[in-house]
Subunit: 453 residues, 2 copies
Amino acid sequence: MSDRLVIIGGNAAGMSCAAQARRLREPADLEIVVVEAGQWTSYSSCGIPYWVGGEVEDAEALIARTPAAFADQDIQIRFGTQAQAIDLEAATVTVRTDDGSGDATGTTIGYDHLMIATGATPLRPPVEGLDADGVFGVQTIPDGEAIRSALEKDPKRAVVLGGGYIGLEMAEALVNRGLSVTVVLADPLPMSSLDEDMGERVCAAMTAMGIDVRTGEPVRGIDVEGGAARAVVTDGGSYAADLVVLGLGVRPNSDLAGDAGLRIGTTKGIEVDDTMRTLSHESVYAAGDCIQTRHRITGRPVAIALGTHANRQGRVAGTNIGGRPARFEGVLGTAVTKVGDCEVGRTGLSTKEAQEAGFSIETTVIESTVKAGYYPNAGKLAVKLLTERQTQRMLGGQIVGGPGSAKRIDVLATAIWAQLTAAEFAAVDISYAPPFSPTFDAVVLAARKAAGR
Amino acid sequence: MSDRLVIIGGNAAGMSCAAQARRLREPADLEIVVVEAGQWTSYSSCGIPYWVGGEVEDAEALIARTPAAFADQDIQIRFGTQAQAIDLEAATVTVRTDDGSGDATGTTIGYDHLMIATGATPLRPPVEGLDADGVFGVQTIPDGEAIRSALEKDPKRAVVLGGGYIGLEMAEALVNRGLSVTVVLADPLPMSSLDEDMGERVCAAMTAMGIDVRTGEPVRGIDVEGGAARAVVTDGGSYAADLVVLGLGVRPNSDLAGDAGLRIGTTKGIEVDDTMRTLSHESVYAAGDCIQTRHRITGRPVAIALGTHANRQGRVAGTNIGGRPARFEGVLGTAVTKVGDCEVGRTGLSTKEAQEAGFSIETTVIESTVKAGYYPNAGKLAVKLLTERQTQRMLGGQIVGGPGSAKRIDVLATAIWAQLTAAEFAAVDISYAPPFSPTFDAVVLAARKAAGR
């Protein structure tokens, strides 16, 4: 008799686990059942701002792999099916399925391997009015559909709550749609995963593109009129809004796991080891936005919701379920985003993170150009490097600059991953031609300056 | 009494040596004299195709640092001054200076430290007609001026000899100027520093942009009429040309050093150690296109003419002359270029180079997109990875693709420099957002595929 793998959650972590497990084990050997509360699998959550902004016209384009493609691989997906409880002793999951008529039926599914990939939920500030019409999350395909429908009513003003990745991307999308956009954030600057001096550059770029950035103003409430949001209220003022977007980050969906008795970490994510197994139950895995993972540099637990991590972790779980040993090697929190022509990249530790982890650091900032200074459209960029004072080991990098700047963060991520010192990285034979960089790329200049102290 | 540093050649290697030596030693302690045969220093030779193509309008823009800036640092530059001989025993350089009247005067300069930075000379095929009007090199500012003057006569047809970096860049420049361009090369494909399958992609892109690429046709002669070039003749045909551009590569200018008794290597470059000192004379340094340097992976001598190497090597020499120990860490031959919308990057060993060096290798090619597949203008790219069969260590990388693809070569260069295996690199936390890459960047996909064997 074959084993059964039950996967709760059919997005990045869940479906990459399914695909990898199937690559390694035939249908006759392993049955794979995915339980998905919604109606979509394997969609690009990160693509939703670009669908809202109109760069992408069709939601279908966001689907990395269709249910039919999974069916071809004998991966069953049960849509509209909510996991309600896990019984670790009995090795079963109780689910409730909406049959379409509004009634829901409960049933219990046994598993040999369980994968918990329940993702995360957008944070909602503890204020009145969030349930009004015109207040939107940005996570699911239905979220995107709702915002696109709202845009058809020709709204004039939008308020985005939060200045992280989603906040920036939604601000860009709504500016592209012709709205006046206000970004309201509790933090002193947008992009709190950057150092303040770099966050200031992002803030200046947002202001320059006409976005009204209101910093240090936590939202106090939503003014509602006739059931619809009309304004966002802070201690600093009231900002008229035909639509309000939530971009305040997410919290791990770990309640289902916690209720079952699995260990939940300090970050509220499910605790797993490097094989993606939960700590108490060898046959129960978890991956993606619902877990807490290990920071590569500090070794400390972190919960960072990024599609790349979720995919990688799901794949590791799937490999282990498939019978081959695999370990997840930790995260640097490498990420890129953009708002208009301002690109942002970050990897490794920020100054605040480094200090909290007890590192004594030095920071180096340089300004340069994306292409040779004399080449057309050579935008500016700033690179910030964090190095450990005693060893000069690179600990973190941040980039803010014009088009073509942010992807350089991958070079720093690779150097940091390989534990190079600033001097070692400054010696790396990096490419140059006038359409691509000055003679020495900004990342090299930053390392050279850091090494030269 | 102060020491005197004499530098022969006032471009990348020479002037970065001068600048670095000055940073470390005051004028009262070190006199710096640069002997330059031409009338320009520190110009971007790599920028000349873009000046010819019209992306850059003013030659002044190509000057990284003016003579006045060097004078401010007490770095003397003697223009129009040709070094004619080096006497290693007497520690003198004999120079001949054109005084402007057509007469030249000889003189002898003593040195405590000598830096030879004589660069390289474009290769000229052994055929008739190369001295005709309308045949141009592409190395110096006067070369660029001559081509720009020729373009004012409204030429219709150009033939570029050679399909390396300069060949591609000049083909692009002349297409941008509205000429019909034929590229004639002896090799079976353009970009011989790539593997053939990658070179084929470049060739196809060139053809698609209307360039007539004639491969496997070494030039046999230039047809000259009234003193001016009219056609390029090969065994395959005669290609009408109002102007002919030499892009056949370069040879190190090592005769001056060789005549003085310094050791010249198998590559025709001057032999130096990692401190940039010549092997026999501790106070005599050489750097840049005139030397042979060490390949980081094979440890073997190579002569690769690249501005980044020249700058780095000059800086190492200047640091040592300045009294601080410094070593050059070798090269991977990392380079980028573009022809129209086709970008090319390469680093480390090609298949041919790896085989010649005795490595048993595996190669992996993947195709992906520069941005998320659904994002607008997501161009295609191909990544080729070379790994050592036994260890899976990464040995080389090649990229050919649309706008935004080539600079990813720096990520591979960093991974190769740090001696990562394909599996180790595949685990690196690389960035993702839809405007920047698919969930897994093409370089990660290539490494993952290589590691998965």
